[in-house]
């Protein structure tokens, strides 16, 4: 019968009682706990209390908590888990930040590419429109029945000797086109295109060169007579009834396409 074998000292119960009945054994155990009640209590000194609690505190520091199996590992384990979780969070956070930055860069590049694509699409559309317009104009001015007339600088001392132009008249539509090259924009007044007939001139329209255009066109209510030829004059008024300014270009060689 030793104290270390069983602190509840069941040996004592079995030594002093019949012992086989668990209920009686528990009752006898409590009875043993009651027996010291008849003793006169001895109050422990404060120093003893302090000594006992200090001894327990030393044991607690030595193994904290002492009696719980594996308990001493709980705090380090919890700390390790917390550290791992923190490190993992930081790593994930860093990685997430990098990925977000990369994603933002990719989005910016994608937006730029979309912008370029949109610009190219617009350019392509513009080019297609222009191409379509030019093709349509070309088909018009090269259709059978179209009258073509080259215009050259007029007079012995032409004001613009380097200028020249081609005039196209589409009789079916009453539409005319003038393709001018080397014609300097006027410092004053406007260039006006005329159909010249024996009965008199017929106003074609203003030759617009202000936007650098080389091709200008207009439409007439009826096909004018042009048995004399075609001319471009420099006029002060945009709607003259007759040519009053100097002749810049003139042509009388008309060719009707067939």
């Amino acid at each position: 019968m030793t104290a270390d074998d069983d602190p509840l000292d069941f040996d004592l119960a079995t030594a002093l009682t019949a012992g086989d009945d668990p209920g009686l054994a528990r009752a006898d155990l409590e009875l043993f706990g009651l027996l010291p009640e008849r003793l006169v209590a001895i109050a422990p000194s404060p120093a003893l209390r302090e000594r006992v609690l200090a001894a327990v505190a030393r044991e607690a520091r030595r193994s904290d908590p002492p009696a719980r199996p594996g308990g001493r590992w709980l705090l380090p384990l919890a700390a390790s888990v917390a550290f791992a979780a923190l490190a993992g969070s930081l790593w994930l956070g860093t990685r997430l930040t990098r990925q977000e930055r990369a994603l933002a860069d990719l989005r910016a590049e994608l937006d730029a590419a979309r912008g370029e694509i949109a610009a190219l699409t617009r350019s392509r559309g513009d080019l297609m429109v222009t191409s379509g317009t030019l093709a349509a104009q070309l088909s018009r001015v090269t259709a059978p029945g179209v009258v073509v007339c080259p215009l050259r600088p007029s007079g012995d001392r032409p004001s613009q000797p380097g200028a020249q132009a081609l005039a196209f008249l589409v009789p079916e539509e009453g539409t005319w086109y003038l393709h001018a090259r080397g014609l300097a924009p006027p410092a004053r007044g406007v260039y006006v295109f005329w159909f010249l007939g024996e009965a008199g001139p017929a106003l074609g329209g203003v030759v617009r060169l202000d936007a650098g255009a080389e091709l200008t066109h207009g439409r007439l209510p009826e096909v004018p007579r042009m048995d004399v030829g075609m001319a471009v004059t420099l006029e002060e008024d945009a709607s003259p009834t007759r040519p009053s300014g100097p002749f810049i270009l003139f042509g009388d060689e008309k060719i009707q396409l067939s």
Partner: protein, 201 residues
């Protein structure tokens, strides 16, 4: 120091609260040790002094008992014993172990001498810290036992003697010792029925 004269729990709720103190000890709460010390140290010190008849050794045993309780708190099972009984039996075991060690040392130096249980009455009657009603009932129950039955219990409980050793020490047949023991326990069990069941809950 706050020694509570009514240190034993009277209700199952009090018993549960005391069991919770032991669980707190198991979790490393040193304050729970202080609470149990204030509640039981006076009685345990009296028990150790009663067994060892040495104030210095009784204090050492008390310290050993609380250290042992601290280490074994996780193994405490409220279904097996109340906290007070658990502490009493720990203290008694430590004191009996020390008493046996002392006897072995004395026998090696001298012839074995008989211990007189009556001589273990505490010479120092300090202030009364026991629950008077319970103390009186236990005292009454023990006093009601025939002398030879009380002697057997005293030798077993305070001297840590086995029944065979009691038979030798008292010159009584072993069978008689066993009979006296069983009768004493039966009478005490009946006399202290209420107290026991308060502790069992």
């Amino acid at each position: 120091m706050g020694n509570d004269p009514r240190n034993r729990p009277r209700t199952s709720a009090e018993a549960a609260a005391e069991a919770d103190l032991v669980r707190r000890m198991a979790a490393g709460d040193e304050r729970a040790v202080g609470v149990l010390f204030d509640r039981y140290a006076a009685k345990l010190l009296a028990l150790a002094q009663r067994i060892l008849d040495s104030p210095a050794e009784a204090e050492e045993v008390l310290q050993e008992a609380f250290l042992q309780a601290w280490h074994r708190a996780a193994g405490y099972d409220p279904a097996r014993a109340s906290v007070g009984t658990w502490l009493v039996l720990i203290t008694r075991s430590r004191a009996i172990d020390r008493l046996r060690s002392r006897r072995i040392a004395e026998r090696s130096a001298d012839a074995a001498r008989h211990e007189d249980p009556v001589a273990h009455e505490s010479p120092r009657a300090v202030r009364l810290v026991l629950d008077e009603e319970r103390r009186r009932r236990v005292e009454t129950a023990l006093a009601a036992l025939p002398g030879e039955q009380r002697e057997v219990l005293d030798l077993a409980y305070y001297q840590g003697l086995t029944q065979s050793e009691i038979a030798v020490a008292t010159g009584t047949p072993l069978g008689t010792v066993k009979t006296r023991t069983l009768l004493a326990m039966k009478k005490l069990r009946e006399a202290l029925h209420d107290e026991i069941h308060e502790l069992i809950g």
